[in-house]
């Protein structure tokens, strides 16, 4: 096994585009890796087509794609119907539908990143309309301008309710939003002082939520001079956000988070690996698309430092499996299942979002992962390729047990199963109990209980 110490990696090599050659060929395993990380596993047809493109072109094509207008309109309509019930508990199923069906998984995956970044929970906001408005901001800027995203988050009613900033009077500023803006959204812990928090909080005095909308109450705004982060001035809330975004810690902080989400959970990359991307993000005025494109096309991304160096999130795990099998299912069941796995969409556990990595995995979540996949595989509402698993495999000309297991491994596993395990699973398909459909579903379930299946 090659050294996985990121300290020994040459940063120049790391971020250069991956150009396959005889020694580092372009393989189905690498193409599937790209699909799993940029989105959620390749669909049955995508993987074969991917091998005919160059990696960089494939990434570029992902960034050019978008949801067709009628699909987007349908999602908006469904969203309105969902929020009209007044009940936030139906929102997760709505997003599950989109995660499974969207033709633009790159944006959906990025939206999920920002959902975990500006982690705002419907548990406290309680109004589905405000949560959907919040979601729309995340989604529209998911691959765009972080300045705009941060500014809109700062005055987003859902965010203000979430961080107790729906009233903010000059006599006693509430520190919660100012603290999290620096600690969790823009700079990271250690890049500001307690005094910075207190001063920045004064900038947001007078910011309120009234009738589900942002309102500036100038009578409650502290117009005095504030001094924070080396800046001094009267400073409105908007200017306060700008001062934070102008810190050199900001692009570094964002790049670290993007790398963790897209490239590897651990170990922490050293500063000199971060620096080139942070510099680019600063030069790009905090527009994230170029940096993300560079990460997803890089030598480092297509190396052993990235492949299988992540624990799959519940969404990656289940949405990936279903998309790979061209499946549709009961989205309520799926959403409830994700909650048991520790990722209830629209309800992150706290303002820090999901910790991810090894924190996804414990006894309960592992058993819940196996159980949810089993339920979904055997549920009456679940369709594969608009029919059954047998039909899916038949249409792909995948026949005996060994072929089925190979097909699944290529798409779904970043590390291959031990040969003995693969053979036993294949035998189960060829010679197990029950009809072929049952044996296929059992084999997929058993595959999903394996440790390899938890890594992305």
């Amino acid at each position: 096994m090659p050294s996985l110490d990121l300290n020994t990696v040459d940063s120049d090599w790391a971020w250069r585009p991956f150009e396959p050659d005889a020694q580092h060929p372009w393989t189905p395993a690498l193409a599937a890796h790209l699909y799993r990380r940029a989105g959620f596993a390749p669909s049955p047809a995508e993987l074969d087509a991917a091998l005919k493109s160059r990696p960089g072109d494939l990434v570029a094509a992902m960034f050019e794609r978008s949801e067709p207008v009628d699909f987007e309109a349908q999602m908006d309509e469904l969203g309105r119907a969902t929020s009209a019930t007044g009940d936030t508990s139906k929102l997760p199923a709505w997003w599950c539908y989109r995660l499974l069906a969207t033709p633009d998984p790159l944006r959906e995956k990025a939206t999920l990143f920002w959902h975990g970044h500006f982690a705002t929970s419907a548990a406290k906001v309680t109004d589905p309309e405000l949560m959907l408005a919040h979601f729309r901001i995340l989604r529209s800027h998911a691959l765009g301008d972080f300045n705009a995203l941060a500014q809109q988050m700062a005055r987003d009613p859902a965010m203000l309710l979430w961080l107790d900033s729906a009233t903010n009077r000059k006599a006693h500023p509430n520190e919660n939003f100012a603290r999290e803006l620096m600690e969790l959204f823009c700079l990271g812990e250690g890049n500001y002082s307690e005094t910075d928090i207190r001063e920045l909080a004064r900038c947001f005095t007078g910011w309120e939520v009234r009738n589900k909308a942002f309102r500036f109450n100038r009578f409650q705004h502290d117009a005095g001079t504030k001094s924070f982060l080396g800046h001094s001035g009267e400073c409105t809330g908007e200017q306060g956000v700008d001062v934070v975004l102008a810190q050199s810690a900001c692009p570094e902080f964002l790049v670290r988070k993007l790398i963790r989400y897209y490239l590897c959970d651990e170990p922490q990359p050293p500063d000199d690996l971060i620096a080139p991307l942070a510099e680019q993000l600063r030069d790009d005025d905090l527009h994230v698309a170029n940096v993300l494109r560079r990460i997803l096309s890089s030598n480092l991304f297509f190396s052993a430092h990235s492949v299988a160096r992540q624990v799959r999130s519940p969404v990656d795990l289940v949405v990936g499996l279903l998309r790979a099998l061209d499946a549709t299912t009961n989205n309520y069941r799926l959403a409830e299942g994700l909650e048991r796995l520790g990722q209830r969409l629209f309800f992150p556990p706290n303002v820090k979002g999901w910790d991810g990595g090894r924190a996804w995995i414990n006894s309960s979540t592992l058993i819940a992962r196996a159980n949810l996949i089993r339920q979904l595989l055997f549920a009456e509402e679940t369709r594969f390729h608009k029919g059954s698993l047998s039909q899916l495999f038949a249409s792909s000309d995948v026949n005996d047990g060994a072929e089925v297991i190979e097909w699944l491994q290529r798409r779904l596993l970043a590390v291959r199963l031990p040969e003995t395990v693969a053979t036993q699973l294949a035998d189960g398909i060829d010679r197990g109990d029950g009809d072929r459909e049952h044996r296929l579903r059992t084999a997929v379930h058993l595959l999903a209980t394996q440790p390899e299946f938890q890594l992305g």
């Binding site: 006693h172 706290n350 995995i361 414990n362 309960s364 058993i367 159980n371 699973l425 938890q454």
Partner: protein, 407 residues
């Protein structure tokens, strides 16, 4: 109720170390250890930063009233403790425990250069280390790695739907997190197919790497522990007499596991919601009632089962809150706060003075007792192990436990 026999019968392999230890060794350990009468620690984490000042209230202090114009607790509502201090009226459970000689209140607990980020401060409490240190394990995880490898059952259990707290993270021992006993079994499979899952997941993965090893050993733990629990229907019954709150039910479940003879030494539960930046009064009242009532019921019922001398509850939060309230009728992040230890073996009453309301650090109470002094007391005098290596330093244990508990 599950009997010990019932549990033993259900265990084909048992043990929570997973792939890191050969099964034959585990069976040997099972035969050797009689851990069902050892001391048990139950950690109750109050997440979000509990307002210590409105929990143990200096209600006669005029500065308290002046800085808390809307949140100060009326003197007439206070449940008197001593020295001008009293409990919030919702903390009736704590007051009853104190009255029964089963509660110690350790005042002014914190650490130097307090960090007011929830996440950073919680990490400090969990690992006993600061951000610049390499933090891979928690203080209880280190205890489990060095001292609990011979136990027959899972040496520690985290009960709840949250992520597992860093405090329990270990190099070797995998602590199971159990969201609910009901859901904690592999569905849709008979004994034969469960055995197949076990065999397939247990197959050695040479050169798989650290992440794969981690997932594999956790998988083995999950399968082993769930087999053990799924054998007993009784363990999943609701606990009688426990409050219907989340914490009440969790402590009720722990009581059942302890009384059924499980050899687990450490239980960990969390209550979230203490981050009361706005409209604090109602929320804080409900939380204190939940915690007080549940802990009181638990400690009392352990005593009724003649297990009072074996069980110690520790309640902590990552920090207290600012002395002065904010404009939203709430309080912002602060520093020092009280900790609570409950059980028949505590030295009851107040330990240490209430921090001064005038000698503040950036508006917050100063600590006079380091939280690791409390951990040291628990490790040395309750779990009976040397504390310094686990805490990364020497900390003088506070005098909070009666000497000579059963070891």
């Amino acid at each position: 109720m599950i009997s010990r026999r019932d549990l033993l019968k259900a265990v084909p392999a048992a043990l929570a170390f997973g792939a890191t230890m050969p099964r034959s060794l585990l069976h040997a350990a099972e035969a050797a250890a009689a851990d069902h009468d050892a001391n048990v620690l139950v950690v109750v984490q109050l997440s979000g930063g509990n307002d210590g000042l409105n929990t143990v209230v200096p209600y006669r202090d005029p500065i308290y009233r002046a800085t808390r114009p809307t949140l100060a607790i009326a003197a007439s509502d206070i449940l008197e403790i001593d020295q001008g201090l009293g409990f919030h009226p919702a903390a009736r459970g704590f007051a009853d425990l104190l009255e029964a000689g089963r509660l110690a209140i350790v005042q002014g607990v914190g650490y130097d250069q307090p960090n007011r980020s929830h996440f950073e401060s919680m990490d400090i409490w969990h690992t006993c280390q600061r951000k610049h240190d390499a933090r891979h394990t928690g203080w209880l995880g280190r205890y489990l790695d060095t001292n609990a490898r011979e136990t027959r059952d899972a040496p520690a259990i985290h009960l709840g739907g949250e992520q597992q707290p860093l405090a329990l993270r270990a190099e070797i021992v995998r602590t199971p997190t159990i969201r609910s006993l009901d859901e904690f079994h592999l569905q849709g499979s008979d004994g034969a197919s469960r055995e197949m899952v076990r065999d397939l997941t247990g197959t050695t993965r040479p050169g798989g790497g650290d992440l794969l090893d981690f997932v594999q050993s956790t998988t083995t733990t999950a399968l082993d522990v769930s087999e053990r629990f799924s054998a007993s229907e009784a363990a999943r019954q609701p606990a009688p007499g426990y409050p219907a709150t989340s914490l009440g039910q969790k402590l009720g479940t722990i009581a059942r596991l302890i009384t059924s003879g499980l050899g687990t030494r450490v239980y960990y539960v969390e209550v979230d919601g203490f981050d009361t930046h706005a409209q604090q009064a109602g929320a804080h009242e409900a939380l204190l009632r939940q915690v007080g009532d549940a802990v009181a019921r638990f400690v009392t019922s352990m005593a009724e089962h003649q297990l009072g001398g074996r069980v110690l509850v520790m309640c902590f939060s990552e920090f207290g809150r600012r002395v002065a309230e904010n404009a939203s009728e709430g309080t912002d992040h602060g520093a020092a706060a009280p900790m609570f230890l409950a059980g028949d073996s505590v030295k009851p009453g107040l330990i240490g003075n209430h921090p001064s309301l005038t000698d503040l650090i950036e508006g917050d109470l100063k600590h006079h007792t380091d939280f690791r002094q409390v951990y040291a007391a628990i490790l040395e005098r309750w779990l009976r192990v040397p504390a310094a290596p686990l805490l990364h330093g020497e900390y003088r244990p506070i005098d909070v436990l009666r000497t000579g508990p059963t070891a």
